[in-house]
């Protein structure tokens, strides 16, 4: 009946064709703070990617004659106690901080969606997997992160070199300890979607279970995953900065924003700009991502659309 009426209605509706993502974008644009967040994030990402190509000062170049200088035309973000250029270091650090955020997000989203989807769809695995998730949620994350990084740092450095080793370790540990909320959200959505008629229809025509999960159920839980992914980038950036701030993140020749804060905090009483700029970068990135996440949540939820 409904299919019939739709078939009749279709030729009448000669409006411009609208896609799912087009709708999302229309909705997203209405959210002022989200657009502000998007602008900030675009600015920062483009800045750290293209910035070092235009602003070609070496972030590691030490020049004691210009040490501890306040922001000026020569050094827009000032210089640190070794005379290294603040802007160059912040731009370079941003690349690493954002890379950590994105890679850690990919890991936690992959693990989280996999565990969530499997435990929501295959009821036999639901109990054990959710117990496992609960246990992971009860782990004290920050202490555990610190411990794991301290204990495995030297081994990974020896294996992959000082920078790649620590990058892999930090990204892996942050990713592997942050998938639990995603798994829960995905499981919840899968549980409700697998009861829907279209899934029943797919099963009734003999579609194999894995195909149903991948082709029919999974695309429908994509929106909570996207929201969770956005927010988890912010979370990963904060976690990495916190680790670096405690002196257990990247080594000092890899200037991530957190590491810049850590290195600068002993000098902040007389050269406050060495902590203010990286701190502002972290804060604006996280703020922008959070606003975007808020906007995406609203835009992806068809119930909230007018």
């Amino acid at each position: 009946m409904t299919a019939q009426s739709e078939a009749i209605a279709l030729p009448v509706a000669t409006r411009k064709q609208r896609t799912l993502w087009g709708d999302v974008w229309i909705q997203f644009r209405k959210h002022k703070l989200a657009m502000f967040g998007l602008a900030v994030i675009t600015l920062i990402v483009v800045g750290v990617l293209a910035g070092p190509l235009i602003y070609t000062k070496d972030p590691e170049y030490i020049d004691f004659t210009v040490a501890n200088q306040p922001p000026s035309l020569q050094h827009p973000f000032g210089t640190d106690n070794l005379g290294r250029d603040g802007l160059a270091r912040n731009l370079f650090g941003g690349r690493i901080s954002i890379a950590v955020g994105i890679v850690a997000m990919l890991i936690s989203m992959f693990v989280g969606s996999l565990i969530g989807a499997v435990s929501g769809y295959y009821s036999k695995l639901d109990g054990p997997l959710m117990r496992f998730t609960d246990m992971m949620l009860a782990l004290p994350l920050l202490p555990l992160l610190l411990v794991i990084i301290l204990l495995f740092r030297d081994t990974l450095r020896a294996m992959f070199g000082p920078e790649t080793g620590i990058f892999l370790l930090i990204v892996f540990v942050i990713g592997i300890l942050n998938w639990m909320p995603t798994a829960r959200v995905v499981r919840g959505s899968v549980l409700s979607i697998k009861e829907k008629e279209f899934v029943e229809a797919a099963i009734s025509i003999g579609t194999n279970e894995n195909t149903v999960l991948l082709k029919h159920v999974f695309p429908n839980v994509l929106s909570p995953i996207i929201v969770a992914a956005t927010l988890s980038i912010a979370n990963a950036i904060i976690t990495e900065s916190a680790l670096s701030f405690l002196g257990l993140g990247f080594p000092s020749d890899v200037p991530t924003w957190g590491r810049l804060l850590y290195d600068g905090k002993d000098f902040m009483t007389f050269t406050p700009w060495v902590v203010i700029f990286p701190g502002l970068f972290i804060s604006f990135t996280v703020l922008g991502i959070n606003f975007m996440g808020d906007g995406l949540r609203d835009a992806l939820d068809p119930k909230l659309r007018e």
Binding site: L33, R131, D134, M135, L137, A138, L139, P140, L141, L142, P143, L144, L146, V147, I148, L150, L151, F152, D154, T155, A234, I238, S241, A242, F245, L246, L248, G258, L261, K265, M268, T269, P272, V275, I276, G279, I282, S283, V286, L287, N290, F291
Partner: protein, 337 residues
Amino acid sequence: MGRYLIRRLLTAIPTLIAISFVIFAILDLAPSDPTGNLPLTIPPEVKEQIRESLGLGQPFHIRYIKWMQQFFVTEPLNILEETTGITIGDSTSRFRLRSWQTRGPVIDLIIERLPQTLWVVGLAYLVSVVIAIPLGVISAVKQYSWIDQTATIFSMIGFSVPTFFTGLLAIIIFSVHLGWFPSFYDTTHQVTDWPSFIFQVKQIILPVSVLALFQTATLNRFTRSSVLDNLPQDYVRTVRAKGFREYYVIMVHVLRNSLIPVVTLVALGIPTIFGGAIITEQIFRINGLGALLIIAIQGSDIPVVQSLTFIFAILIVLFNLIADVIYGFLDPRIHYD
């Protein structure tokens, strides 16, 4: 309710055992050697003896069981003896859980550090609850008013700006430029008279406000959305239709229902704030539990790290349990069977 409580307690036990195993295994299987930091002039046989004396000679499962025994039997017995003064069994020859750095019992170290952390963390939490809940209610009742907009912006800032940046900013502004407060927390300070009390208040203001800002942000948003969920409900309309004043409607009917999830969030947040305190303690140089953990991690003091991490885990499990129980107690719609 009673049966539910027992069942929850029983499921908490395997969770805790699994967590203790994970914590023990990570620390134990890690390729780091507690004797690695000793001078190279110590001959290998002596190093081996040191390892033996630290209890590292035995196989993994024996050490795990011994650690569990120390953690759950020996140390609680010792605390009991110290607090009550009774001697239970052979207390002097009991193998205590000792720090590798100080050689003192781990529990003593923790008891020594606990008050500082509890003061700062507890006070910050209290402040944030006292600010966040009324503000959240006002924000929801006067949605989109200037109070709501300001609270929203402040929450977003508190939520996004990490404590290690707000802490540093607070020090730069309030202690370096304005000179209002000291930049670090003096734990040895004793409150004896009025001026020393004033000093105590001054030095605790910065760390507490930094921690509270973050916590307030989360709680405030949560309270606001919870009240907003309740406002359009039928029972609110009924109360209004009966002619009660709006103040009464909000304070008595809406508030009681909207605070149910907030109370559980408050309970759930208590253990996580200990994690946040690690950073705040580092910024303001408070020698609390977080600082102890950092020192122990840097010195590969495995017994202290294991115990502290496990205590944090126990707190999380415990407050999860408390949150569930409170929820069931406050919300009569929830039936546990």
